[in-house]
Amino acid sequence: MQCNGKTVLLPVPRTLQEFLLEQQYDCQAVAVERNGEIVVRAEYESTQLTDVDCLEIVRFVGGG
């Protein structure tokens, strides 16, 4: 699977929720795009990730 431009292996099936926790992302501080589409927080749990998925996980930083 692609995540923020890097290839990540998914040994076992994972929901987005599980993946974020495993990777220690702060769910309250990020937003997620999956294959070009937004995933709303409410659907993190029900979103099943697959090897062909491409994720963008972003957060706020300082910017002008």
Binding site: G5, A29, A31, R41, E56, I57, G63, G64
Partner: protein, 264 residues
Amino acid sequence: MLKEAFIITDLLMIGGHSFQSRLILGSGKFSLAMIQAVIQHGEVEMVTLALRRANVGGEENILDYIPAGITLLPNTSGARNAGEAVRIARLAREMGCGDFIKLEVIHDSKYLLPDNYETVKATEILAKEGFTVMPYMYPDLNAARALVSAGAASVMPLGAPIGSNKGLCTKEFIRILVEEIDLPIIVDAGIGRPSQACEAMEMGVDAVMCNTAIATAGNIAQMAKSFKLAVEAGRLSYLAGLGRILDGRAEASSPMTGFLTEKD
């Protein structure tokens, strides 16, 4: 008392929200530790942010450093075309901090000049999706009109290249926008000194956005306060009405009545 009178009643309206402050702060180039002091001394009510990829593991969250009640204005920096800008805007809104978006579409890494054409396209899409779109733009009257039609909530013409501190190089054309465009005009990029922010406001611009000028100052909290005062000064003088300029000669400010003259 008059003093209060002319301040309280002068609000900046953007997308249905109202602001007393006419200084918008860019949060780039600061250490997180400084942001709060800058916001306080600048008495700003709106702060821009950028979106970037989150790294694995706990990182500091800039939102923890921004006081409650501040309106967040995420930008689409990094977008090189309308499509990318739209994706970034949607991600930004998903952060749950409101529907303001500072739209910037740039594919020139040297001068960072915005692409007006792609910006108009993205504005159209995002406005339809209910965003309060504040597009960063090159001050071209025709493009500004297209942005109005596309549903922008304001226009943000540049004064000079981003981060240059060069000042109001586009003065003549921002003047035309003030004249012709019925949206809040916010000068963004290039303003390097409080006097330049003050001059922009004197021209009738509705607000000024500032980041580098403060971030590169010696004492950034003090510079933030300086910009706050300068923007307020410029706004007041615009409302008060500037005096005429004499072309040639001078005009005495003391009576010209003869005095001691018989002593010659």
